[in-house]
């Protein structure tokens, strides 16, 4: 059942990020964390529709993307801990997660950089006549960058199998889009490049799922073209770190209220009922506990690791 799958993935991400937030003060995680709390339904809705061979690229706010696409949990937590068992051997940290086997092709800390890279990956897929697609998750801030324009243009030009997913939480760090753009009409802009662009403004996970599903169906039928999905959403925590930041004054709790009420996690839970949800929760809680234990117990990389992984022979 769809709701159950969604709930499992969503609860899992929320649970893990809350655990990260909880232990963050201990300094065991010496890596800046950009939590997705409040925005997870987008990654879940999209990734639940994806097939194993589909590819995702994410941003530094990438825990949800990584986990939703099936990225290895233990390796992620170990990565945050800087351990050699981490998905990037401790060299990447929270902002550089990867799981090649699961099609998570990496997250980047430079805003906008994954846009053309995702497009290039999808070029290769089309070139190989693969049926797979690439999903490129970006924030609304990335839309400001020249790389957005150049990347989207090329995807449209070559009609590539790529789904752009823009998580529009209205802010880039503390900067609201009104101080960055004349109007908030990303989809309208994207359409002029020659691709379909739609906005889902209520965070509904089923709508996000359906949209992605339909896109994949069209790809399978041979209608290869890029598509753009904007999802309005809200970041609950501070830009980076485990805390709330409404006291800073750049945004208000009121503004957040709709999104807190609209929490997809809560909605799914009430859909499923207590029996099912609590079963899922205890399984996830155990998995979470184990993952953090795995990270704790793992070793730090040896000093000689500083010099490895620069070049491939």
């Amino acid at each position: 059942m769809l709701a159950e799958k969604f709930y499992r993935s969503l609860y899992r991400i929320r649970r893990i990020e809350e655990e990260i937030a909880r232990i963050y003060h201990t300094d065991k995680i010496k890596s800046p964390v950009h939590l997705s709390i409040g925005q997870e339904a987008i990654s879940v809705g999209v990734c639940e529709a994806l097939r194993p061979d589909d590819i995702v690229f994410g941003t530094y706010r990438g825990h949800a993307t990584y986990l939703a696409k099936g990225g290895n949990l233990e390796k992620m937590i170990a990565e945050l801990y800087g351990k050699s068992t981490g998905c990037s051997k401790g060299k990447g940290g929270s902002m550089h997660l990867i799981d090649v086997a699961k099609g998570v092709m990496g997250t980047s800390a430079i805003v906008g950089t994954t846009i053309p890279v995702s497009v290039g990956y999808s070029y290769a897929l089309k070139y190989r006549k693969s049926n797979s697609i690439v999903v490129c998750f970006i924030g609304d801030g990335a839309v400001d960058e020249g790389a957005f324009h150049e990347g989207v243009n090329f995807a449209a030009l070559k009609r590539l199998p790529i789904l752009f997913v823009c998580e529009n939480n209205h802010y880039a760090i503390h900067s609201h889009h009104v101080s960055r753009r004349n109007s908030d009409n990303i989809c309208e802009r994207v359409q002029t490049y020659g691709m379909q662009a739609e906005c889902i403004d209520d965070g509904d996970i089923f709508r996000i799922y359906d949209f992605t599903n339909n896109y994949i169906k069209r790809i399978m039928m041979g209608h290869i073209a890029p598509v753009f999905l904007e999802c309005i959403t809200y970041r609950w925590k501070e830009h980076v770190g485990p805390n709330d930041d409404f006291h800073l004054g750049y945004r208000t709790k009121d503004e957040a209220e709709y999104w807190i009420q609209n929490d997809q996690l809560k909605k799914l839970k009430s859909l499923l009922g207590a029996d099912i949800s609590s079963k899922i929760e205890s399984a996830v809680d155990l998995e979470t506990k184990n993952a953090f234990e795995f990270a704790e117990k793992s070793d730090f990389p040896e000093v000689k690791e500083l010099y490895t992984d620069l070049f491939k022979d």
């Binding site: 995680i29 960058e145 753009r181």
Partner: protein
């Protein structure tokens, strides 16, 4: 009496004073008007000077650099801030193809008085894309001035000089320096770009440290006192133009030199300093060494990151080994108290 300010306060004071006395000075950059105000350096400026003179920008490093250049062409003096130097890689085209060249390629008809502030420096676990210090790339380019002062006094003086300078100036600030405190005069004053500062006199070895490495050199100097080595510490302050003579004089005296880049070493400032000294026929018995980042991207895990950056102890150890022609792994006994607060994330 000495007035003590932090490096961050010194920078803010420089900006406030220049904005006050010259309406052409404007401040732009991502987050300059936000609650954190670029680690405090632009805090409150928008209230004081209004949103036409102090404004946040879209995430568009190349474009906004061009905007700053255009405003400068029209006679404004923009101070453009990047919270990490890594992001300046997006602005290389405007900085190198335009800012550095326009005056020359238009035969002196225009000038580009911009200051590009960028923050370098470790904090913790920032990783490959949030830790770079790419001043060597700019040193290669004629037409740019570059400075990276290490003390609050020089931060204020160099920044005021940079804002008054009629040319593009890259102003580089290390995150850990923000907690440095020191004497800063109240009035507006300038420190010339192109004259190195001898931070401490000494006779046995010359330590040249760039940006925060100058502070590490001062610490290394303390360590070395234990074994009666008297190190001279030089902060070049300005990397372009580079004051080689102050370094040369010191090296002629001490016969030993370590240059510590806060950057990768290949084609770095250390290489340039060594090459310039050799061209100036320094005495043949001078011993020279370069230090800097490990030749890899910066890893996040502290287990590796701590070996990526040079520090005071490593500098002291290298000095020891050079002076005693000894490979022994000497360690100072005393543990220095960090004068500056150790950075604690996240940011």
């Amino acid at each position: 009496m000495q007035r003590i300010l932090s490096y961050s306060e010194a920078i803010r004071e420089a900006i406030v004073q220049e904005m006050t006395q010259n309406p052409s000075v404007i401040v732009l950059g991502q987050g300059v008007d936000d609650p954190k105000g670029i680690l405090g350096t632009t805090k409150g400026l928008v209230d004081k000077f209004g949103s036409e003179r102090v404004f946040d920008t879209p995430l568009a490093e190349d474009g906004m650099t061009g905007v700053a250049i255009g405003a400068a062409l029209a006679g404004l003096r923009p101070v453009h801030t990047h919270i990490r130097m890594d992001f300046v890689l997006l602005a290389m085209n405007q900085l190198i193809n335009m800012a550095a060249k326009m005056r020359y390629m238009f035969g002196g008809e225009v000038s580009i008085p911009i200051v590009v502030r960028s923050i370098i420096g470790k904090s913790w676990g920032q990783g490959a894309q949030h830790s770079q210090s790419i001043y060597p790339l700019f040193m290669n380019i004629p037409g740019l001035k570059i400075c990276a002062p290490s003390t609050p006094y020089d931060a204020k003086g160099c920044l005021i000089q940079g804002i008054r300078d009629n040319n593009p100036v890259l102003f580089i600030e290390h995150r850990l320096l923000y907690y440095q405190r020191g004497h800063v005069p109240t009035e507006g004053y300038t420190v010339p770009l192109g004259k190195a500062r001898i931070l401490a006199k000494g006779k046995d070895i010359t330590l040249v440290g760039i940006s925060q490495m100058a502070i590490e050199c001062l610490r290394a100097r303390q360590y070395l006192k234990e074994i009666h080595i008297d190190a001279e510490v030089i902060d070049p302050l300005s990397l372009s133009p580079l004051d080689i003579n102050t370094i040369l004089d010191s090296v002629v005296k001490t016969k030993m030199l370590i240059v510590i880049d806060y950057a990768w070493m290949t084609c770095g400032a250390g290489a340039e300093i060594v090459a310039q000294l050799i061209e100036r026929n320094i005495p043949r018995d001078v011993v020279i060494k370069r230090m800097g980042f490990a030749s890899v991207p910066c890893p996040t895990t502290s287990a590796l990151e701590q070996h990526f950056y040079p520090d005071a102890k490593e500098i002291a150890l290298n000095a020891y080994q050079m002076i005693f022609s000894d490979k022994k792994a000497w360690q100072p006994i005393t543990e220095l108290q960090a004068e500056e607060v150790e950075f604690k994330g996240p940011f």
